[in-house]
């Protein structure tokens, strides 16, 4: 038998080892050699603080009482970790990008940096965790008492409590030493994490050693164990479906919501990829931790039928003379208890200091963050005091409750309490519509129901709840009975409480969220949380650069420490391209600073502190919205300006076009004048020359006649030219008088063809027509129309280059009017010339001098315009083709 003193010595030695390991790790980290301190294995092992002394010792007792059910509290976390891609990955990413310090900070930050929610979650966590810490103290004290079994005389209840007090004090010292060395929670506690990783190994090895001893040392191997299970008191299959399901859910929820789990899983996480390894390694750890629980329980029942099953892990090896194994087992239990208490105390103290102490302190000295005092020291002090207070509370709870069975049941009660955060947590991660009002409502209702149906009744018949009230409900109202709410009788108390609290909590959360309207900051944070994988990690928050960089530096030094703050400011200044320590207080910089400070004092406090300096008040998101409104207005004005300037540039373009047209017209006019002079000059020259010849002297009759004829011909040509010019000028000036009358298209065409045939020269032109479709009634000036037709036919006669010129005159229905096409079989008009043939004096060649001055088509066009139709060139008909479009009779008549 190991003496009590030896036990204490071993225990102290073990604690010394832990201190050394933690200290060495801190030193190593300070030198920047993080290396294996931050490996996925250490991360996985640190998660094992889930397995507390309650599970280390208690699982066996649980198995003895309820068979396989003990395994549910491991299955929940297994499912959560296996499903890491859903939740844990996102939690870790958000925790890193938003510099989250605790679960209370997460909820507060998600719902618009609301301190109300931070306080609520902190209270919930403290109330839920304190009994749990008491449970750990009890476990350690009990395990001490086992070893002092032979010194019962000195080992009484008082000693039990003294041991607990000593353990609590020792834990407080360790936690304060290594848990509050640094202020920035995101800089992580290397010493603590390394120590709890070591403790995780010790408890796993201890439990496996006891298990292996039991299976292969006491029993005859695996087969024998199965036989023993079947023969033992736990053989009977009595699985309660409701409890089984509820406990799996509850343990999964608690795994996510427990402050200490959040601390190691999110806050202490160094690399997101570690989560991927932990996704299978942590379930494996749990698997190994529970593998030998049933065998130990069965063998324990055989060996020590009357003993306390909660201590079989310790008493079985002890009673079989395996002192060293028992010592190892004791250290395993000790490790389980201490690691849980240390991390829980750190997590709770962070929450208490950030969400309760700091806001109060800031309020007491409003505007004082820059004036005096060292905030850093205040925060550290408040954390240290909080750690002491949390442990003192745990000890007090243990002392007052007197230990025993009441305490043993507290594990699940505590789980159910912290699980109340789950709806707000998951809602906040996956639903952008979740609001602060919904979360506050859900948390309050869930917390109240949990307290009413599970927590308060757990004290039994005391001053809190009388037996009568438990039996008949408050004031005899039966449907308010704490263990049968709304008449749900006969349910297991835990199932009953979890069911009602979660249902009403979730319902209130959903309804509250749906029917409330989030503030702007909530909406921004909501979007950042839910879409954390898409968003850049920067949240808009500060828009005015009014803060004095120096004030901010002074404040940051107090919170982050002088060198860290200076490094931060210097880096920011460098990024802005400035020297020295004072960067411009751009919104980006202030956001970065706020995030850094949030890592130390929590999001809500950091927001408030910066708010005190930046322009003396918080730049609220309402201000931002106002700025955004202004921006929108400016944008509207500028878009109007843009429209106007576009209009101006359009007008300018039109003016430019008009100018170009005028210039072109001027050039055209000059060209026209020079053309006309030229056209007039040619016949005039011949007339003058021949008249001079006639005047110069005697000549034969024949010569005289010849020269006179030339002069006559030239005069006629001149007259015709002048006639044409006059005609064109009259048409263009609109002074023409049209003789509107009813006419038949066929008649007009007939006239035109006849007159061109009469003036036919040597070139024969075959004209193809279809008289049957030409009978179209028109209201027009038939003389002018005939003039157009004559011109077109004459053109064909003159310019058609074919061997046997053929002109087709096709009359067709053109929708609103009648189309008359003149198509010859010549070579047509080349594409570039098609656009100019209707211009004055445009002749494509000088081939046929017999023609006019190039005014024919120009006149045709003017006539057709006056007649309400048009004449256009029709390309792609195999030769030159002109289309004369005429309005129909009725259309014309209607005018």
């Amino acid at each position: 038998m190991i003496g009590f003193n030896i036990l204490v010595l071993v225990c102290l030695a073990y604690v010394a080892v832990l201190f050394t390991v933690a200290f060495a790790a801190e030193k190593r980290a300070e030198r920047g050699e993080v290396g294996w301190l931050r490996s996925p294995i250490v991360y996985t092992l640190s998660l094992s603080i889930y397995c507390t002394a309650w599970t280390f010792y208690g699982a066996v007792g649980y198995a003895v009482r309820s068979g396989l059910e003990f395994v549910t509290i491991y299955l929940g976390p297994t499912l959560v970790m296996v499903g890491w891609w859903w939740v844990v990955r996102k939690l870790v990413r958000i925790g890193r990008s938003q510099r989250i310090t605790s679960i209370a900070d997460l909820i507060s930050s998600r719902y618009g940096k609301s301190n109300l929610l931070g306080v609520l979650v902190t209270l919930l966590a403290v109330i839920g965790t304190t009994p749990y810490i008491a449970l750990q103290l009890q476990s350690v004290a009990l395990s001490f008492s086992v070893f002092s079994g032979d010194e019962a005389a000195v080992w009484d209840a008082g000693n039990l409590k003294n041991t607990a007090l000593l353990v609590a004090a020792g834990l407080a010292v360790f936690t304060i030493l290594f848990g509050t060395r640094r202020l920035d929670a995101n800089e992580r506690h290397h010493g603590v994490v390394t120590a709890i990783a070591l403790e995780a190994v010790v408890k796993l090895v201890a439990l496996l050693a006891v298990g292996i001893f039991v299976v292969w040392g006491v029993a005859g191997g695996a087969g024998d164990i199965v036989a023993r299970i079947d023969a033992s008191g736990v053989a009977e299959w009595n699985l309660a479906g409701g409890r089984w399901t509820t406990l799996i859910f509850l343990s999964a929820a608690a795994f996510l919501c427990l402050p200490r789990m959040f601390q190691v899983m999110v806050v202490e996480n160094a690399d997101e990829r570690h989560v991927a390894v932990a996704s299978w390694a942590f379930p494996l750890y749990l698997f190994l931790m529970s593998l030998f629980v049933i065998p130990i329980a069965v063998v324990g029942l055989d060996v020590l039928p009357g003993g306390n099953p909660d201590l079989y892990v310790l008493t079985v090896p002890l009673s079989l003379g395996q002192d060293n194994l028992a010592m190892l087992s004791f250290l395993g239990g000790f490790s389980s208890a201490t690691s849980m208490v240390i991390v829980a105390a750190i997590a709770l103290s962070t929450m208490v200091s950030n969400h309760i102490v700091m806001p109060i302190w800031l309020n007491l000295r409003r505007g004082g963050a820059t004036v005096s005092g060292d905030v850093r020291n205040v925060v550290l002090l408040s954390r240290r005091v909080s750690i002491g207070a949390v442990l003192a509370l745990g000890y007090l709870y243990f002392k007052l409750s007197g230990g025993g069975a009441a305490l043993a049941a507290i594990g699940l009660i505590s789980f159910a309490g912290v699980a109340q955060v789950l709806p707000s947590l998951l809602g906040g991660l996956f639903w952008r519509g979740a609001t602060r009002a919904g979360a506050a409502l859900g948390l309050t209702i869930g917390f109240a129901i949990w307290a009413y149906t599970l927590f308060l009744p757990s004290f039994g018949d005391t001053f809190v709840m009388s037996a009568a009230m438990l039996q008949d409900g408050p004031f005899g109202i039966a449907w308010l009975r704490p263990r049968a709410l709304f008449g749900f009788d006969g349910l297991d108390p835990v199932v009953h409480a979890v069911f009602w609290s979660m249902v009403l909590n979730t319902g209130a959360f959903l309804l509250g969220s749906v029917f409330s309207f989030p503030e702007p900051l909530e909406r921004l944070q909501g979007a950042q949380f839910v879409n954390v994988f898409e968003h850049s990690p920067n949240a808009p928050g500060w828009s005015r650069g009014l803060a004095e960089a120096e004030d901010l530096l002074i404040m940051s030094q107090r919170i982050l420490g002088a060198s860290e703050a200076q490094a931060l400011f210097r880096g920011a200044a460098e990024r802005q391209g400035k020297g020295g320590y004072l960067p411009d207080t751009t919104p980006d910089f202030i956001e970065l600073l706020e995030r850094e400070l949030a890592g130390s004092v929590g999001a809500a406090t950091a927001h408030a502190m910066i708010g005190q300096i930046v322009g003396g008040s918080v730049v609220s998101v309402e201000d931002l919205m106002a700025v955004a409104d202004e921006t929108a207005q400016i944008m509207e004005v500028s878009s109007r300006l843009k429209t106007q300037s576009e209009e101006l540039s359009r007008t300018a373009g039109q003016l430019r076009d008009a100018n170009e047209k005028l210039t072109a017209l001027s050039i055209q006019k000059d060209a026209f004048l020079s053309q006309i002079s030229h056209e007039l000059r040619t016949p005039m020259t011949s007339i003058r020359a021949f008249s001079e010849i006639l005047m110069s002297g005697p000549m034969t009759e024949e010569e005289q006649t010849k020269f006179s004829k030339i002069i006559h011909d030239e005069a006629i040509r001149l007259t015709r030219l002048l006639d044409d010019l006059l005609d064109l000028s009259v048409l263009e000036n609109g002074q023409v008088t049209l003789n509107w009358q009813t006419a038949d298209l066929h008649d007009v065409l007939e006239r035109a063809v006849t007159s061109t045939v009469s003036m036919a020269g040597d070139r024969g032109l075959e004209i193809i027509r279809d008289p049957s479709v030409e009978r179209v009634a028109l209201v027009t000036d038939s003389d002018r129309l005939a003039q157009v037709f004559i011109n077109l036919i004459a053109n064909a006669r003159k310019y058609c280059t074919a061997q046997n010129p053929i002109l087709r005159i096709v009359v067709s229905d053109g929708g609103a009017g009648v189309n008359v096409d003149f198509i010859d079989n010549g070579s047509g008009i080349p594409r570039p010339s098609q656009s100019v043939i209707f211009e004055k004096f445009s002749r494509l060649s000088d081939k046929s001098q017999a023609g006019g001055a190039g005014l024919g088509l120009a006149i045709c066009r003017e006539i057709m315009v006056k007649l309400g139709g048009s004449v256009t060139y029709l390309p792609g008909q195999g030769g030159a083709a002109f289309r004369v479009a005429l309005p129909r009779a009725q259309a014309r008549a209607a005018q």
């Binding site: 396989l68 970790m81 296996v82 494996l284």
Partner: protein, 90 residues
């Protein structure tokens, strides 16, 4: 599930990784269903439901989940640099 990053047709390897993500999402649901199976056990005269059988069943499922999860996490962990899919939204 709609393709989040624009293209409908992605590289074969990327496609495979995305299906692995789907698998990683479904695994806990499958695990939960399998862990709930013992609720329905009643046993019969020849093969009564016993704790021993329950232990073997639960631990077998558990081991299977661990193995599958380990495979999936190996496939899903980005190797230096290629982080695009790691950042994929849900």
């Amino acid at each position: 599930m709609s393709p989040p990053n624009g293209s409908v047709f992605v590289e074969r390897r990327t496609y495979r990784r995305r299906r692995m993500m789907d698998a990683a999402r479904l695994l806990p649901i499958l695990g939960a269903l399998l862990f709930l199976v013992p609720i329905f056990w009643t046993g019969n005269a020849e093969a009564p439901a016993t704790t021993a059988r329950g232990v073997i069943y639960v631990f077998a499922i558990w081991a299977g989940l661990i193995v599958v999860s380990a495979r999936l996490s190996r496939w899903l962990t980005p190797k230096g640099g290629e982080d695009a899919d790691w950042d994929r939204r849900e």
